[in-house]
Symmetry: D2
Subunit: 393 residues, 4 copies
């Protein structure tokens, strides 16, 4: 169990490390209802351990603060009331210092629990729950970066999260098409190591022959789409996407800005940067991804195609650059059953009107993702590190 | 070609027959943006023939009225401007009489075209387009009934569309589970007769073993869900469905009303009727269908399961009662390609954030549906004749 | 009492005469929540007589139709429930024919009541209520014209309400400033003849010396404001007006359109007409009136100034062209008291966030208005026949 | 000029003193678009001095930070672009420390300017502008308290702004009616000392005889209104107020909460407190004030009545408790002219759809208000320290 404690400590430390470039003021603001303040992420991930582990398993459990049960509940109706999501930025109290104390307190109690004598069944349950909490916290580590980037972008000062200069990207190789035979194949996690419930059960799917792009779409390729009038051509868009583009008067990805000389700039974690044409395109909606694919004479892959190809390990940039939109609606795998109780709300209840993304991004913590991992967002989400890998018949 | 002309005439006449119980006043109103006035349906279906056939193929084509090109365009960006959808009820001009004249005029010109000498390729294209227009008009025949029902329900007078009394439903047989082996199977239209492009290409899918309910869910079964507190139990609902229920403060299907004595009444095409517990439940959203299935310890079928079972022809009430929600997001079949030009907008651009319904309803014209037919609506749609067939692992 | 019956008959006939150019379809539609269908006006004015006279005074009263009490109640909470205002256009039932029968029925019953023997106090009350009902109906006669104009403007066919050609306007004389001494003056109705409760009590106000424009602002003068960039110059607008202009992207009055050659056209009751520069400007909001006055180096008059000047009878176009915005918020006169019961809701409860208009318009029935008459609308209302008379210190 | 510098320093220090109970986190959040973060108040009041004084009069002017011109512009279109009002809470940069530095920098430059040799006309203008800036800052001092109170109320922790316990209120004396003769009277500032442009010109108004309540309405009196069903009785409310009450489902003032035992509590600057029945009622909208007055058989005073009575100095609680709603729409006095340029936007452009409040509140800085002072808010504003003084004919 030492190793679990060590991994727990490492994950929890990494969360705090992400706040180092930020002031307490930075950590309190919420740029939109879909994003959360950094402080709220710090508290909610702690609440997860307190609520789902300490409250169940700690002898003589007493909450760190009774109000936190409500304030830092994200969406678990089974736990009870929730502070309104859109008003997380108004929680100037508890202060950052108190939230840090909350983290330290829960960490100490988790450590004691891990050290304690427990019957084997409880020990196994504890290990499962601590592991789930760590995976959950890693998901929030990525959200902290997406959310703080979105926040910093709201100010005309456009401050950088990272002082270090952005490294230059290497020239993108020509896009090639990798061909796959498909057939009756097994999809879903194969049993070794942790996975989320939505990756199970592993099951059969028939995949027709297809081709996948050898790398991600680049900023330069997407710029060509823009310059060809992509945002003004209804024929390229899904009906809902076309409404979205026109209602919001969009003509470029969320973080692309033209400077006074008309040159494209991109807001990054390193602040404003000249648009790097070689870099993989990120921060686009499914609507945009689909329109681009249409324009490029291609389509988006299904999640089964993506997972099948990932197993072949011959495509580049599958992980670590950006999440890749698929055309697959987020749905339960055949035989999926959510857990009993509030933890069953973790994934299952979101399986409607969202689309699956595969891979992982530059903001995903090391070791968090895998080939069967299913990320999901609504079609209009742009503040995540989302990009495009094309497919063809 | 005689037979095509005869079928064309029959379809066109049936549309007008549906307006017989209605006054011109009834035909002008639009109860909500999702619904259209009857007059608009009459004109739009005619516009379809004029725009996609006469304008292409009629020698010396001149429009019946130049403004109609805009007024009665539904959603074809490739054709050009459109009158705003939510304002179709404001078109008191053209009057019903002028719309009837428009229908007669286009009918005569289509008849002349069908009688004319044409090269074989053109004759084949004409037959294809006339057939598509007839299928399109049949879809609107069903919408006319759903839309006029919704309109009549808005008035506290609750007038009946049909004078005839509603026939009593037979007692519902006990629900049985029909078991299917599944396996690698072919899904999609198999080539004989007309189908829409979204039913193609026929392709392989792997279907795991499953069970399907022998009949539809009844009003009585759904009432038990309500009385068990179904609308107040978050644990039964998808997250988006729970938001929907609470925001709209819903606690029953759209046309169910309690009378002053507390007895349930249902608004039907025959006017207000005591709720018939034996009749298949209709007019529910996917959110409600999913929550009910959850409560019943079951789930909704996928569209492949439904189609596979339909081929076995051993389940009752598959057609002619109500459209059956599936858990399948409306998506292109592998290899799907929309037609070139504006007609390509018919289906393809709606393949996002909608869910597939299978079967057909009591409002579906005779002969219109088939086992591979894919109807689709957003998860919150309630004014269609939608119902529930349960599935199980 | 003969004369009251005769006047009653004349008013009621005039209402029906206004519907002559319209079909039943035209009479059912509602172009926006602020406007009502013609059919609703026909029924509501009848409801007023039935509810406030017959229900109180008719022996053995029984309603023409019990549901009409709710369907045609406009805003009288004291009477009870109301059909939702924004859904008046969905009342295809009762049909126009039934509403006409409702009018005839109530007319006959009012006639019987007027002929019946009544104690003097009841006779006086009856005369007062019938007179109020007639005045109320005349207000709706003007609204019928404003509302049907707005409805017809929604269709790209832009049909005319009147077949007759629009008469040409005479050249507008140069605008002169008429100077008034002011002083301590009496404002409000002076006791002879009918007035609404909001014109009472007559009371003292001090009016400082001021000047009033000798005539209304013309289309030509307003066009100069537009061409000088009036709609794009924040400095001319009230803060709320500037938000309104930008949010709605406005750059001209509601019924002004540029044709394909760039020439201004105006939609009128006679259909589309070339903009007549000599005609008094109509259909502008208070926001626009105030910005125009600002640009012209003037201001809008207060309602006391307007009424004071009207008594001197030396200014042109005070009545019969368009209602003239004043800078006066609609507020109770000192000592104002609303009537007891539901009739007390007629005027008093609207005395907030509305502004007073004085004079009368070309749509006002003959003999309806007077110098003390207080019309009122919210600052953004444009579909009324509203215009500008300038004032100066 | 020493004394101006001294007063400037005192005002600026007081602003900072108000932030003492607050953390930097508290100072960054914005609870609603109508409110602003404390940090924004600190910066905007400084921007006012920099923009309207230093930019005009400082030799070699260079802005402290070029982006601040946009970030801290409230509503001056004449100055240029503005950061969106509803997103002031997203400005985590500049940090509080930088805003404090901004204040110190501008203070030093203002001090140098005040000490410098200037021609008499410029010296007079400088004095006028510095005075205006100080008065402006005092207005924001009150807003800081209203806004931070609203922010702290959003958290279920309901933290107190002030640690000190709330002093108990003395028993309220019985309400008496003070009678005033009225007549032709002079209204507006009389020329000695500073006033805002909206208090000018002093002018004649005729005031009819009236009576004014000897003191403010108390919490206890308002509780009686609630317990008598005031919030559920349409007859008491203005039409717009009744819509407001029902749409927002209101049944008590904004900061009144029932505890678990059903006892009323009030959120105050001292945190949650048992409702003090003797204390003047605060934090109610004009809608509520008007309905209460109606229920009490009284009315709200006009602003002229209030000012006339204030001159007699015989009514209690005219200043220092809460702003008192009047029935007077905020409108220009006869002959009012806004200043040239951006400073002319200070008051004039808001003179529409707002209502005048008179007196001052416990949050108003010492010496800021006077009898002719005109505060103004929209009818629905509740987060200000607003209350009720009744009037009668």
């Amino acid at each position: 169990m030492d190793s679990l404690q060590a991994r727990y400590t490492a994950v929890r430390k990494h969360t705090l490390a992400l706040t180092e470039p930020l002031s307490d003021e930075d950590c309190g603001a919420q740029s939109m209802p879909d994003a959360s303040p950094i402080k709220w992420h710090l508290a909610h991930t702690t609440w997860f351990f307190e609520t789902f582990i300490l409250e169940r398993m700690e002898r003589g459990f007493a909450p760190f603060h009774p109000a936190f049960r409500i304030l830092f509940n994200s969406y678990y109706n089974g736990i009870g009331e929730k502070h309104p999501r859109a008003q997380r930025g108004l929680l100037t109290r508890p202060a950052m210092a108190e939230v840090r104390a909350y983290r330290a307190n829960v960490d100490a109690r988790i450590a004691r629990l891990l050290e304690s004598e427990l019957p084997a069944a409880q020990r196994a349950e504890l290990a499962m729950l601590v592991t789930l909490g760590m995976q959950h916290e890693q998901q929030h580590q990525e959200l902290m970066l997406t959310d703080v980037k979105h926040l910093l972008a709201q100010s005309q000062l456009r401050p950088a999260y990272l002082d270090a200069p952005q490294p230059a990207a290497a020239a993108a190789p020509p896009l090639a098409w990798l061909h796959y035979e498909g057939g009756l194949t097994d999809i879903g996690h194969d049993g070794a190591g942790f996975c989320f419930d939505n990756e199970l059960p592993r099951h059969k799917q028939y995949v027709a022959p297809f081709a996948l792009a050898s790398r991600l779409a680049t900023n330069g390729e997407y710029l060509a789409f823009i310059e060809a009038g992509g945002y003004a051509n209804a024929a390229l868009w899904l009906a809902e996407g076309w409404d979205w583009v026109r209602t919001q008067k969009l003509d470029a990805p969320i973080y692309w800005f033209k400077d006074e000389q008309g040159a494209w700039q991109e807001f990054t974690l390193h602040g404003m940067q000249p648009l790097d044409l070689n870099r993989p395109l990120t921060h686009i909606s499914l609507y945009e991804a689909d329109a681009y694919a249409h324009w490029a004479g291609a389509r988006l892959p299904t999640e089964a195609e993506w997972e099948y190809a990932a197993a072949q390990a011959n495509a580049a940039q599958m992980f670590g650059h950006c999440w890749q939109w698929t055309s697959s609606s987020y749905a339960p795998y055949p035989g999926f059953a959510a857990a009993e109780g509030a933890l069953g709300e973790y994934n299952g209840k979101f399986m409607l009107n969202q689309y699956v993304l595969r891979g992982s991004s530059l903001a995903t913590p090391e070791g968090h993702a895998r080939a069967s991992y299913r990320n999901f967002f609504p079609a209009g989400a742009r503040w995540q590190f989302t990009g495009i890998r094309l497919a063809q018949r």
